[in-house]
C-alpha cells in the first residue's frame, strides 16, 4: 500500500506542477482520524494519504461552487468514489474535462484516470462492489421479521433523527439546489423532527438514491445519531440489482434506473 500511496502522491504533485489541475482533493491521516484535504501546490502532495478508513466520499465536494470553480481538479478516489464520479457524470453533473481521478483501492493504485477510463479500471479490479456480507446479513435478518416488527424497529430508529441533514451533505448524490424536504407549497415532507416527517424524509432520501447509491457509506458514517441508513440503501441496491441488474457507477453514460424502463420489467406484483 505504501508504494501505491507514494505513486499517488507523485501523480498529484505532477498534475499540480504541470498545471494540469488546480486542486487535488484527497485525504490526510491524523492519528486515528481521517480528514479530507485539498491541496493546490505540488509540495503539499506529501500530505496526501489513503487507507480503508477513508470513508468520506470526496465526490460530494464536487457540487460545491467553490470547489467546482477551481476545475480542472483531481480527486483521490476509492472504488466507491470512482463509482460516484461515474454516477455524477451520467447525470451530467460533472464533465470529463473537469475531473480526474487518482484511483486507489485495496488492490493498489490505478493511476491518473479520466472519467472515461474509470469504468474499465473498476470492471477489471472491482467488478462486483456489493454491500458487505455483514450488512447484507443484517438486511436479511430484518427482512425476515414481520412487517410490524420492522415498523417498530424503524420507528425507534427514525425517532432519533434530528433532521440535521448531515447524511445529505455527505452524499454525492444529494446535489439538488433545493432538496424536496425544503419544499413548501406544497410541503410534502414535514420539517418537524418527529413522526411522519422523519419517516417520509428517511424513506424518500433512500428512494431518491435508487439505482444511484454506490454504497460508499458516507451518509451513515456522517449521522451523529447513528441511524442505520445503510440498511435502507443496501436493501434498495440489492432489489435494484436483482430486479433490473442495476449497478450504478460502472459506465460513463448510463440511463437512470428510475426514469427508464423495459417491457420485461417484473409486473407480478400488479394485479
Amino acid at each position: 500500500m505504501s508504494g501505491a500511496i507514494g505513486a499517488m502522491r507523485a501523480d498529484a504533485a505532477k498534475l499540480l506542477s504541470e498545471g494540469a489541475v488546480k486542486l487535488v482533493l484527497g485525504y490526510c491521516v491524523r492519528g486515528n482520524e481521517r480528514y479530507p484535504c485539498f491541496i493546490s501546490e505540488a509540495a503539499q502532495a506529501e500530505a496526501l494519504d489513503f487507507d480503508q478508513s477513508c470513508r468520506q466520499n470526496l465526490a460530494a465536494y464536487l457540487r460545491k461552487p467553490e470547489v467546482r470553480g477551481r476545475a480542472p481538479l483531481a480527486v483521490v478516489s476509492s472504488p466507491a468514489v470512482c463509482r460516484s464520479l461515474l454516477v455524477l457524470s451520467s447525470e451530467s453533473q460533472i464533465r470529463e474535462n473537469e475531473v480526474r481521478a487518482l484511483a486507489i483501492g485495496p488492490k493498489g493504485y490505478g493511476g491518473i484516470l479520466g472519467l472515461g477510463a474509470l469504468g474499465a479500471w473498476l470492471k477489471a479490479d472491482y467488478p462486483d462492489l456489493v454491500p458487505e456480507q455483514a450488512l447484507l446479513d443484517r438486511v436479511a435478518e430484518l427482512s425476515a421479521k414481520t412487517a410490524q416488527e420492522r415498523a417498530k424497529f424503524w420507528m425507534k430508529e427514525f425517532e432519533k433523527c434530528t433532521r440535521c441533514y448531515a447524511c445529505r451533505a455527505a452524499c454525492p448524490g444529494c446535489y439538488c439546489e433545493r432538496c424536496i424536504v425544503e419544499k413548501n407549497m406544497p410541503q410534502w415532507i414535514s420539517s418537524a423532527a418527529a413522526g411522519h416527517g422523519n419517516y417520509a424524509w428517511e424513506v424518500i432520501r433512500a428512494f431518491h438514491q435508487a439505482g444511484r447509491c454506490t454504497g460508499c457509506g458516507a451518509c451513515e458514517a456522517a449521522c451523529p445519531q447513528g441511524l442505520p441508513l445503510m440498511l435502507l440503501n443496501a436493501r434498495l441496491s440489492q432489489d435494484a440489482f436483482e430486479e433490473f441488474g442495476s449497478r450504478p457507477g460502472y459506465e460513463l453514460e448510463a440511463k437512470p434506473l428510475i426514469g427508464s424502463w423495459s417491457a420485461e420489467d417484473d409486473g407480478s406484483f400488479i394485479r
Binding site: A147, K152, G195, N198, A200, I258, A263, I270
Partner: protein, 141 residues
C-alpha cells in the same frame, strides 16, 4: 363500531378512471371505502403522493393504470411499474407491507375487474386493521 378502512386510489385518466366509469354505467356495486384521485397517467404518481396519503389518514393506497402496452402516453405505466416495484419493497422493508399498498392494471373495459378489485382490497385492508395512529408514517392527531 366496525372498522371501515379508508382507501385512497391514484388512477390514470385514460384506463382505470374510465374503467371505474364503466363500473358505474354497468351498475356494479362495490364497497364505498375508496376515494379516487384522478391523474393523467400512472407515470405522474410521485412516491410522495403515497406517503402523503398515509400521513393524511388513509389505511391503504391503491394505484391503478393502463395495462402494459396500452398507456395513452406510450410508456408512463412502464415508468410507474419500475418505480413501484422498488418503492413498494422499500415501504415493506420499513413496515408498510402488501396489505397497505396495492397495484393494478384496469383497462377502460374492465368495469367488473375494478369492482372486484375494490372489494378485495377493502376486505384485505379491513382484515389487516387500521393503519394505526402509532405508525410513524401517520400524522399524530
Amino acid at each position: 363500531m366496525t372498522f371501515e378502512p379508508r382507501i385512497t386510489a391514484f388512477v390514470c385518466n385514460w384506463c382505470t378512471y374510465a374503467g371505474a366509469d364503466l363500473t358505474g354505467t354497468s351498475r356494479l356495486s362495490y364497497a364505498p371505502n375508496i376515494r379516487i384521485v384522478k391523474l393523467p397517467c400512472t407515470g405522474r404518481i410521485d412516491p410522495l403522493f403515497v406517503l402523503k396519503a398515509f400521513e393524511g389518514g388513509a389505511d391503504a393506497v391503491l394505484i391503478s393504470g393502463c395495462h402494459p402496452g396500452d398507456c395513452h402516453y406510450a410508456s408512463g405505466n412502464y415508468h410507474a411499474r419500475r418505480r413501484w416495484s422498488l418503492f413498494r419493497k422499500l415501504l415493506a422493508f420499513t413496515g408498510i407491507d402488501e396489505n397497505r399498498v396495492f397495484f393494478s392494471w384496469v383497462s377502460a373495459a374492465e368495469g367488473q375487474k375494478f369492482a372486484n378489485l375494490v372489494n378485495k382490497v377493502t376486505e384485505q385492508v379491513r382484515a389487516a386493521g387500521p393503519f394505526g395512529e402509532r405508525n410513524l408514517a401517520r400524522r399524530r392527531l
